[in-house]
């Protein structure tokens, strides 16, 4: 249920060319073949009463309210399960139907609490509505019979409660959990009067497989499943349509408020990316925006050893401007720079990169994409000509074979994963390429046909072996290649070499040759085969090479340029795509145009009154190296916690300490702020006014539900810093910033807030050629003309396991936490993940005398930390896994300086480590000295 009432047509749409004509209550109606009578009636403006039907779920026919009379049909069929037929004549309102409906409602109400006036759903309850619609006046059965009114509540979930006394057993929640979410955590247990909604095997919600996506709460027509925030605060009174600030799916939400207090976030049915679905983070974990830890006033200090001092905005900005100019005067113009956030809006990022280029006068600007998907930008630009994915999310509905490489979408992109699982349940085949047995390999009603479980660091070996199979077994789509591509023969000759065969590479990759060949044949056969990939591809020393390898595979098999195919990066953060689009790269201006291009520089120099340098600036890892050698001395960090998220923490913190000025703009004091001289408070997504761009290039509006609690928008702060440095820069509104972006960036020329308000969202390119955006890229031809095959030799990483560090650590994320955890750790999501743990195979654990829950020390050549162990056979032997959400364990203390050769994206996925039982549960600093003894390494158990 939701405040902003979106029309509910009862049953899902059935798109199709054939049209059926019928008559409903004397009105002629034409609808696609397969449409239900209920939906046809709703489209004609006739609302048939209903309780178990809702248009996000398939018809169920259980409530018996939606009965209709049809000429020539016996009885009173349920309109939700009755498909339209040509010439059908339907009556939805007759005396007989009215009597039947009232009888049904009498039965429901005879076993329902009569506490409407004090119920949290008062005014927003479909049962209440239907009682009114059918004209219920009394309940002949009375209320003294057997009932469920004393059924105990389940309040275990931190965000919603389950009150079975109010349940009408419509099964909407069960169906939502299966059809929409795909977790199948709920069922109806018992029969007849004993039927009841059951989580797991009659468990409490929190103990069950429930992933707290909220689909059941959304679907529930009564107050049985109700947000605790509504119980506590009351029903919202207004609604603002905005976009989630968590992952790269970019779900549209209605922020529902009472006054300025957000009561709940409800997924928007017409959200282009999510179509009414959500995950635990976007749906429920918004409380961080009003957490007491929020810093709302600027703070400065002369030295990082001093206490913070609150100051007014003018003082803080004046301090920043003056100090940056002093550094430049003393050490040179290229000694300062900025890092933009992948979580702020496009407009905010654009303004910060302008500040760096025009006010700082250099190109030392980079963004968080550096450490995640920068290889995507490089690799797809080299091969296809565009630094972005090729499809929209809906495209997966047309895929016959889905190849998931180095991604864990059920954790990292849950709403997209739900969509993918719907397609898999309908028969698409799945190939998973991952060292870990991720959930997607085997889930309720989903099973991978092939799981290529390769050794960490051997992605390129695997993709080359697949390419070898395609080329040598005659699986190439020769027509597509001839018509659309170039460089094929040199590439084909390269991959056909014996050293690239599955047999030759089986030992190094760990993937049996026959399994790899079978998976490749499946992919090549399609007919529509799609690749989805994540940071398990990019965060490697050959991340860019692997992206090109996948692009080669897609081109060779003709799987580009239509629905159901493509190469789609699952970008991690809400606006990492956007921050790249906005030119937050040291070598590229907005729209991925190189700074060396004088015509592009002229566009901005003329507009900005600047003199943009024609040479690339420093990337984030280069900034750290330069800070340590003294050639980089001042840094502005917008919304990034590099001291926690970037690899080799000791190196990063040493670099930050070396700076003369570190300015951090963020919501909370974080690990990076420990080394800062200025803290500028940032705004949460609830206060921002702008746009985010998700993983499918979809530009969505972010609308403010309240003014900035800090008193300024982040883009205003950047403008004022520039002014304090003597460079005039100002805007009147975020809309004006987007207008400037559109005026200067060819892929954005049609974008405006007006357009987005009208159509909801658009995928770039959005210009004269594509006024409403572009869903599928490279349809008629590649952006660069012809797709380019690029040979991808496998070069093993220099990070190898040794006697001292015999295991390989790979890192990633989980569902309930997000990135460095700054937001999610300040919500009730900590109930699912209160700490980062180390997943270790039971054999590796046994060798080391480690038991479930033991404190263990994780050591690499760069550092050590301590965390608790979780024995997990989904890990391969020899590989351990952890997340980076908690600063206390600080997983990046152990990751290294190794990075992708082309982009310096860190090799987070391959670190040689040793694990041993910890002598104590000391913090990471104490663990540094806890070198394992020989007995601990050899795993002797007392």
């Amino acid at each position: 249920m939701s405040l902003l009432k979106e029309p509910d047509l009862g049953t899902p749409a059935r798109p199709g060319p054939a049209v059926v004509g019928l008559e409903i209550d004397g009105q002629p109606v034409s609808v696609p073949e397969g449409t239900s009578v209920m939906r046809a009636a709703a489209l004609a403006g006739v609302d048939v009463p209903k309780l178990c039907a809702t248009d996000s779920l398939e018809a169920f026919g259980s409530c018996r309210l939606c009965l209709v009379e049809v000429d020539g049909v016996k009885g009173t069929p349920a309109s939700c399960t009755l498909p339209v037929a040509e010439g059908m004549s339907v009556r939805t309102q007759t005396d007989r139907l009215a009597r039947l409906r009232r009888s049904v409602m009498e039965l429901y109400i005879s076993d329902h609490p009569l506490d409407c006036l004090t119920c949290p759903a008062n005014g927003d309850c479909e049962l209440q509505d239907m009682a009114g619609v059918v004209g219920l006046r009394d309940v002949r059965y009375g209320y003294a019979g057997e009932n469920h009114l004393d059924a105990p509540k389940d309040t275990s979930n931190p965000y919603f409660e389950f009150d079975p006394s109010k349940c009408i057993a419509c099964s909407r929640c069960v169906r939502a959990c299966s059809e929409v979410q795909g977790t199948f955590a709920l069922t109806i247990s018992g029969r007849g009067f004993d039927s009841k909604v059951s989580a797991g095997a009659d468990e409490q919600f929190l103990e069950s497989e429930c992933v707290s996506c909220g689909a059941c709460v959304q679907a529930c027509p009564t107050s049985t499943l109700q947000e605790k925030s509504v119980v506590d605060i009351g029903m919202p009174t207004r609604s603002v349509l905005t976009t989630c600030a968590y992952c790269g799916v970019g779900c549209s939400f209605k922020a529902e408020l009472r006054g300025s207090e957000v009561v709940r976030m409800v997924p928007a049915k017409n959200g282009g990316a999510n179509e009414g679905h959500s995950c635990v983070k976007g749906r429920f974990a918004f409380g961080y925006a009003s957490h007491p830890d929020r810093v709302l006033k600027p703070m400065v200090r002369e030295s990082i050893d001093d206490e913070w001092r609150e100051v007014e905005w003018d003082d803080a900005i004046g301090f920043v401007g003056r100090r940056f100019r002093e550094i430049q005067a003393a050490h040179g113009p290229g000694t300062i720079g900025g890092i933009t956030s992948s979580r702020t809006t496009n407009e905010e990022v654009y303004v910060v990169q302008r500040m760096v280029r025009a006010a700082f006068g250099n190109n030392n600007v980079d963004t968080c994409a550096r450490v995640c998907h920068s290889p995507t930008g490089y690799g797809l630009k080299q091969t296809f000509g565009t630094s972005a994915g090729t499809q929209d999310f809906k495209s997966v509905d047309d895929a016959d074979v889905i190849l998931v490489i180095g991604a864990n979408p059920t954790d990292g992109h849950p709403v997209f994963a739900s969509r993918m699982m719907r397609r898999l349940r309908k028969g698409a085949k799945l190939v998973v390429v991952d060292p870990r047995r991720i959930d997607l390999v085997r889930m309720p009603h989903v099973e991978a046909t092939h799981h290529l479980r390769m050794a960490p660091g051997t992605n390129v070996a695997v993709v080359n072996a697949m390419a070898h199979t395609v080329v040598t077994e005659g699986l190439v789509d020769a027509d597509f290649v001839a018509e659309r591509c170039e460089g094929f023969q040199a590439w084909a000759d390269f991959v056909a070499r014996p050293e690239n065969s599955p047999e030759a590479l089986a030992e190094v990759s760990g993937v049996p040759a026959e399994e790899l060949r079978a998976a490749t044949r499946l992919y090549a056969a399609g007919p529509n085969s799609a690749i989805y990939y994540g940071l398990g591809v990019t965060e490697h020393s050959q991340g860019s090479t692997m992206v090109m390898g996948m692009a080669n595979l897609a081109m060779a098999t003709g799987n580009i340029g239509r629905r159901g195919v493509g190469v789609s990066p699952l970008r991690g953060q809400n606006n990492v795509q956007g921050s790249c689009d906005m030119g937050s790269f040291p070598q590229e201006l907005p729209g991925y145009r190189h700074v060396s291009d004088p015509a592009v520089r002229a566009i901005y120099d003329d507009l900005w009154g600047s003199a943009i340098l024609p040479e690339p600036g420093l990337r984030i890892p280069n900034m750290f190296d330069a800070a340590l050698d003294g050639s980089f001395r001042g840094l502005f960090v917008q919304g990034e916690d590099i001291a926690q998220s970037d690899p080799n923490t000791k190196h990063v913190t040493a670099a930050l300490r070396a700076l003369d000025l570190l300015v951090v703009q963020d919501l909370f004091l974080n690990e990076t702020a420990k080394f800062a001289h200025v803290f500028l408070p940032g705004t949460s997504f609830l206060e921002k006014d702008g746009t985010f761009t998700n993983a499918e290039r979809r530009i969505n509006r972010v609308r403010p539900v309240m003014p900035p609690r800090t008193g300024k928008h982040e883009w205003q702060v950047a403008c004022e810093i520039a002014q304090a440095m003597g460079y005039e820069m100002s805007y009147d509104s975020s809309s004006q910033i987007m207008d400037e972006i559109a005026a200067t960036t060819p892929t954005f020329t049609g974008v405006s807030f007006d357009l987005l308000d009208k159509v909801g969202s658009v995928q770039w390119p959005c210009n004269a050629e594509h006024p409403l955006g572009t869903e599928i890229m490279h349809e008629g031809g590649f952006t660069r003309g012809r797709g380019r095959f690029v040979p991808t030799p496998y070069v093993a990483t220099t990070e190898r396991s040794t006697r001292r560090y015999p295991l390989i650590l790979t890192t990633g994320r989980i569902l309930s936490q997000y990135n460095v955890g700054a937001q999610t750790r300040r919500t009730a999501n900590v109930v699912w993940h209160p700490e980062d743990v180390l997943e270790i195979h039971p054999h590796d654990a046994e060798d080391r005398g480690i038991e479930e829950g033991d404190a263990v020390t994780l050591t690499s050549r760069t550092g050590a930390t301590t965390m608790h162990a979780r024995l997990a056979d989904r890990m391969p032997v020899g590989v351990v896994y952890t997340t980076f959400h908690h600063p206390l364990s600080g997983a990046n203390v152990v990751t290294t300086e190794n990075s992708d050769w082309a982009t310096n994206c860190p090799e987070y996925k391959v670190t040689a480590v040793q694990v041993a039982r910890a002598r104590s549960t000391a913090l990471q600093d104490e663990a540094e000295s806890a070198e394992p003894t020989g007995a601990e390494v050899l795993g002797s158990r007392a």
């Binding site: 290229g334 030392n364 040479e615 690339p616 420093l618 330069a626 290294t896 300086e897 050769w901």
Partner: protein, 71 residues
């Protein structure tokens, strides 16, 4: 020498050179030179040039060829 102890520009340049091992030395040097020009800040390029001048043994020969322009 383990890569981690090398100066960053040496390590990164060697990484780049390794990727073009399937090309001839001249082609690889051109590719390395082009990549560095497109993506490296001038101070990093100067540091690399210093390394070529003073300690070329730590560098992949393709890198040396790319920097000295003898490609």
């Amino acid at each position: 020498m383990p890569d981690a102890t090398l100066p960053p520009v040496v390590r990164m340049a060697n990484d780049i050179a390794r990727q073009f091992g399937y090309l001839t030395q001249d082609e690889a040097a051109t590719a390395v030179s082009g990549h560095i020009a497109m993506f490296w800040d001038p101070r990093m390029r100067r540091q690399l040039a210093d390394e070529v001048d003073h300690d070329p043994e730590r560098l992949d020969p393709v890198v040396v060829r790319a920097v000295t322009g003898s490609a």
